[in-house]
């Protein structure tokens, strides 16, 4: 069984009398450790798919099984618990809490898990060091650049040692140079911990970091192919052919 299995997924929005098919019929399998890019234009349903994979939205029909759990059928409380234990999030607009220092922002997921302040500060410090922000621990988000803020966001996504990290246009607000830094950081952290990364973007340059690119058009999978030339910033070597997509 694959780490993530999506079968017959459909999402219909109602806009007044009209039905809008955001997702028509999605079937997808993603393996543990895979870096999967969901590519699509605005309105292709890529964000809807991500939201449903993360359990933020209930599908109209279909199943989403992550790590053996059908999250489409979980209660609100169990979903929260599931997110605490399995998922990390990286947002386009960082979504850090402005009143909190970067240390506190990174520690937040651990706080929701009920960790003591001492324990979560220790973990958060480690993560901040790992993203190269050791000297910015006491800074507030508005005292940092966009790239730094997004690195805090990445630290926050990885701090609870999740199984899967969702990234929604993580570099949408960043310039080219910073985009490369941030993408490399994310890929590196995923590889180190053998995490699954689901990357949603409309940007082909970003997609090149992924092992596999799922192309969505109008709520359907248009193409699902291995990235023949995975850009691996660590080996500087193209394409690892041993990694195969599940479907």
């Amino acid at each position: 069984m694959s780490f993530i299995e999506v079968t017959g997924l459909r999402k219909i929005y109602r806009l007044g009398q009209e039905k809008v098919y955001a997702l028509k019929n999605i079937n997808l399998k993603i393996e543990r450790g895979e870096i999967c890019c969901i590519l699509g234009t605005s309105g292709s349903g890529k964000s809807t798919l991500l939201n449903m994979l993360a359990g933020l939205e209930k599908p109209t029909r279909g199943d989403i099984i992550i790590n053996g759990v059908n999250i489409a059928k979980l209660s609100e409380r169990k979903l929260a618990r599931f997110r605490q234990e399995n998922t990390g999030f990286v947002f386009q607009s960082y979504n850090l809490i402005p009143q909190l220092s970067s240390l506190e922002n990174v520690g937040m997921p651990l706080m929701f898990k009920g960790w003591s302040r001492r324990k979560r500060d220790r973990e958060a410090k480690k993560m901040l060091a790992a993203v190269g922000l050791k000297s910015r621990m006491k800074h507030r988000p508005n005292q940092m650049s966009g790239g730094q803020q997004q690195r805090v966001g990445i630290a926050r996504a990885f701090v609870a040692k999740p199984n899967v990290v969702f990234a929604d246009e993580p570099t949408g607000n960043l310039d080219t140079k910073t985009t490369a830094d941030v993408m490399e950081l994310m890929v590196k952290m995923c590889r180190e911990h053998n995490l699954t990364l689901i990357l949603v973007t409309h940007d082909l340059d970003i997609a090149k970091y992924a092992d596999r690119i799922v192309h969505l058009i109008d709520g359907d999978i248009h193409s699902d192919e291995l990235n023949k030339a995975v850009y691996d910033p660590f080996t500087e070597k193209d394409g690892d052919k041993s990694r195969q997509p599940a479907s």
Binding site: F91, S93, P109, F112
Partner: protein
């Protein structure tokens, strides 16, 4: 999420909008102050009322009146034949009632029946003095305290007298005319009390039974003869107390009182004379809260009862209405404060929509979000309650110092001038704190529910 983290988060959120939090808290302070001060005025009124009633008589006592023609009690249609007799049998029944501790029967000797004289040749006379036949052995238990002399004791107390504190002032000097023949108890300029015409402890006192066939010019009667004259020994003069009946009267032995009544009836050929009944029985109940129950039993049996407790009840009822009105006025201001809290919390939710969404996405339980919001609202209430309590104590102290009259007149409330007009008991403090916190929680309930319903998607959508 740990409770401590939620408290920190709640405080941080309140602190973030200091000005708005402060204004909302002030609303609660005003409401809380209003309620505490109003209730404290009510407490003051109750205390003043209890003081007043206690000065009138014993709150634990019930008095049962007999079928005397002097005492008009009840519905006005009371026919003495319908009423149960107040005899030894009734006394025994009352003694055995639950909660009754002591019974103290009295037989009233009609002031028309006898004349009391004192001094040589009966110089000092009391024609209309009240005489009660009592059980001397119970005097001490009843709380009568001798000012001079001692409780009557010994085997033969049949012809023993006990003077009420001002009884001796009821005698007039038959050798003087006009105003000079009367005296009364008053404070003299040098601070001592005026003296009666004679010292009851040393002067000899006689009682004779009136012969109604031999009236004097002044409306008094002559003695029925040697057989109807009794030489009395005075045992004690009682201290001043709050029993208005005995202050001006004489007490004699119960059996002697019966003898006098029977002798009077015989001497004056009264028709249909019956064995004298008790004119009054006073009951002491173990607890003030049981007075009502005992009194109800007795009045259901047809007795004419009266107690301070029943008076207290009706007065409390009247005060209760006043207090209710004051309390409602105060409650309105707290209601306004509660709306203020709700308003503040809703504003706060709009500001924090994104934050709440992020928390949800990062795996925060919605129960935790709800608790944080309720805590914030409750904290505003508690803070307002605490500060309001402190300010209430200040207001209360100011009112009590500035004097009773000003404020009492202003609010139209009853005060006897001796007790404070505003009393804040400890339970009121606790009640105010709990109440304002609960008000805060209730006000926060709707906003907290809105907060948890915020969609995580809506909140984190990219703008």
């Amino acid at each position: 999420m740990k409770l401590f983290d939620m408290i920190i988060m709640c405080l941080r959120n309140l602190w973030r909008r200091k000005g708005r939090t402060l204004l909302t808290v002030i609303g609660v302070i005003i409401g809380c102050c209003a309620i505490i001060v109003m209730i404290s005025l009510g407490q003051g009124m109750n205390a003043a009322m209890d003081n007043m009633l206690a000065s009138w008589g014993d709150l634990n006592a019930i008095t049962i009146y007999g079928n005397s023609r002097y005492i008009w009690v009840g519905d006005g249609n009371s026919n003495s034949e319908d009423k149960p007799k107040l005899d030894e049998e009734a006394l025994e029944m009352m003694k055995n009632l639950d909660h009754v501790e002591t019974v103290f029967p009295k037989i009233e000797v009609d002031s028309n029946y006898v004349t009391v004289t004192a001094g040589k040749n009966g110089r000092y006379k009391a024609n209309w003095i009240e005489i009660y036949g009592v059980d001397f052995s119970a005097l001490k238990k009843m709380g009568y305290v001798p000012e001079q002399g001692d409780y009557p004791s010994g085997d033969d107390t049949l012809h023993t007298l006990v003077f009420g504190n001002e009884a001796a002032y009821q005698f007039r000097d038959s050798k003087k005319r006009g105003q000079n023949s009367y005296t009364y108890k008053q404070m003299l300029p040098d601070g001592t009390w005026s003296e009666p015409f004679f010292d009851p402890m040393t002067e000899s006192v006689q009682i004779y039974i009136n012969n109604t066939k031999k009236p004097n010019d002044d409306g008094t009667y002559q003695s029925g003869g040697r057989a109807y004259e009794f030489k009395m020994t005075t045992a004690a003069v009682l201290e001043q107390d709050n029993d208005w009946q005995t202050v001006y009267s004489l007490m004699i032995d119960m059996d002697f009182a019966r003898e006098i009544i029977n002798s009077y009836n015989r001497l004056n050929n009264v028709k249909d004379a019956t064995e004298p009944e008790f004119s009054q029985i006073k009951l002491w109940v173990d607890d003030i809260n049981n007075v009502d129950a005992v009194e109800t039993i007795l009045s259901d049996l047809g007795y004419n009862t009266s107690s301070m407790a029943s008076q207290r009840k009706s007065m409390q009822g009247q005060l209760g209405v006043v207090q209710m009105v004051l309390g409602c006025l105060a409650a309105i201001s707290l209601l306004v404060a509660a709306i203020g809290i709700t308003n503040t919390m809703i504003m706060s939710i709009y500001e924090r929509t994104r934050e709440i969404g992020i928390m949800k996405v990062l795996g925060c339980f919605i129960s935790n979000i709800r608790v944080v919001f309720l805590m914030e609202a409750g904290m505003i209430g508690l803070l307002g309650g605490a500060i309001g309590t402190v300010i209430s104590f200040i207001i209360s102290a100011v009112m009590n110092t500035l004097g009773n009259d000003t404020f009492a007149n202003m609010f139209g409330i009853y005060t006897d001038g001796s007790s404070p007009i505003s009393i804040i008991p400890i339970w009121l403090v606790l009640l105010a704190l709990a109440f304002s916190t609960v008000i805060g929680l209730i006000s926060g309930f709707y906003p907290a529910n809105r907060a948890v319903k915020i969609s995580a998607l809506e909140a984190i959508r990219n703008e």
